[in-house]
Each structure stands twice: as C-alpha cells, then as structure tokens.
C-alpha cells in the first residue's frame, strides 16, 4: 500500500513525556481462516474456530500469553477438523485460522 501512519499522542507512564505511537498499533485480529478461504462450521457443534477458541481459552486463557493461546487454536483447528459433506467437492476439506498482531506488548488476561 501507500498509506502513511500519522501517529497519535498517548499518555506516557508517570513522569515520562507524552509519546507518539502509530494509529495502527495495538490491534490484534484473530481471523477464523486464511485470506481468501472458506470458514467451516459444523451443523451440530458450531464453527470450528469458535469452538476451538472457547476450548483453548477455557484451558489456557488465564495462564498463557494471547499469542500462545491463539497458536494452540491454530493447531486444534488445523489437526482436529476435517469437513464431511454429501455435496460433491466439499468433503475432506481443512482449515487454518490466521493471527494478525499489531500488539506491542505481551498480553495476559487477569486471573
């Protein structure tokens, strides 16, 4: 692209002077699938991504860093799911989620 990030002022910590950070900083995008791909959901159990996300948040949400949690979600969706369909061309398909991080620090949820 050709956009330029103009930055924005933010409060410094304590006595530090005001800092400038990119306006695009501190975003985390957790996509259910890779760019251009379909995202699967099971008729009975819900979407592969959300059910895996809930599982991993339940198991590791309060101990692991967010990127570690999301990596485990990737692993689960990638290895534990495969589509089953009677329609031609939709059987035996796979999926990999996509983590896009603009975070500038590690992130832990409070216990």
């Amino acid at each position: 692209g050709t956009d330029l990030d103009s930055g924005i002022e933010c409060d410094g910590v304590g006595d530090e002077e005001t800092q400038r950070i990119p306006v695009e900083a501190d975003f985390l995008y957790a996509y259910s699938t890779a760019p251009g791909y379909y995202a699967w959901r099971n008729v009975a159990n819900g979407s592969w991504f959300i059910s895996s996300l809930c599982d991993m948040l339940l198991k590791y949400g309060k101990q692991l860093e967010i990127m570690q949690v999301m990596t485990r979600v990737n692993h689960k969706v990638a290895l534990e799911f495969e589509s089953s369909s009677n329609l031609p061309g939709f059987d035996g398909k796979k999926q990999i989620p996509c983590i896009v991080s603009m975070l500038t620090k590690e992130l832990y949820f409070p216990k």
């Binding site: 699967w40 959901r41 099971n42 159990n45 534990e80 495969e82 589509s83 089953s84 329609l87």
Partner: protein, 115 residues
C-alpha cells in the same frame, strides 16, 4: 451459453459465497451409547478370559457388540478387537482412531458414571 460453462462449479461457488456449505460430521455416531452406564450394561456376555475389563472399555467410550471380543466407540464408531494382555483401551482407541472427538476431548455428550 458459453461452451466452457461448468454448471456444477458455478453451483459450488454459489453455495460457498452464500455461506451455505456446512460440515455435516455428526458426533456421536451412536447417540444411545452416550452414557457410560449404557455402555457398561452391554458387557454381560463379555468373554471371561479377556484380559481387558469392561469398566475400562466403557470408560474409554467402548460398548460390546456381542460378537467375540468386538467393541465399538459410541463417538467415532471405530471398532476394536483381539484384546491382548497389557492392552489399554484408551491407548488402543487413540492408536487406531486418533481423530475421534471423544478421545480429543470435545464435548460429544458423554455421560460418565457417577460414583
């Protein structure tokens, strides 16, 4: 109509674009064997000389289909037989049917024994 028009491919594309394609994998495969108690109750004619205990099989999702030492998983429907000394139901289940949602720890409606 153009000669290279592929109606089936067009239809597939339409279903994907409208989000109508769904994964139809159904678990458990044998819903009436969801409860460990129901599974355990199938073992009344289990061969007495088998080296594997019905309690351990039922806990690992297996129920007896009444022939030789053939058991089946309520979730993935995978069959196992020919039990030998030292076999562990969970390990054997995992060895042959590692994609089973029950083995993988998904919520498939298993009802464990309340003891």
């Amino acid at each position: 109509q153009s000669p290279d028009y592929d109606e089936e491919a067009e239809n597939r594309e339409f279903l994907l674009r409208t989000g109508e394609v769904v994964d139809e994998s159904m678990y458990p495969v044998v819903p009436h064997m969801k409860s460990e108690e129901a599974r355990l109750s199938t073992f009344n004619n289990w061969p007495a000389d088998s080296p594997v205990r019905p309690e351990d099989l039922a806990e690992a999702g297996m129920y007896y289909i009444g022939i030789d030492d053939n058991v089946q998983c309520f979730c993935c429907g995978g069959g196992l037989s020919g039990w030998e000394q030292g076999d562990d139901p969970w390990s054997e289940h995992a060895k042959y049917y590692s994609n089973c949602f029950f083995f993988l720890g998904h919520n498939v409606g298993n009802v464990p024994l309340t003891t």
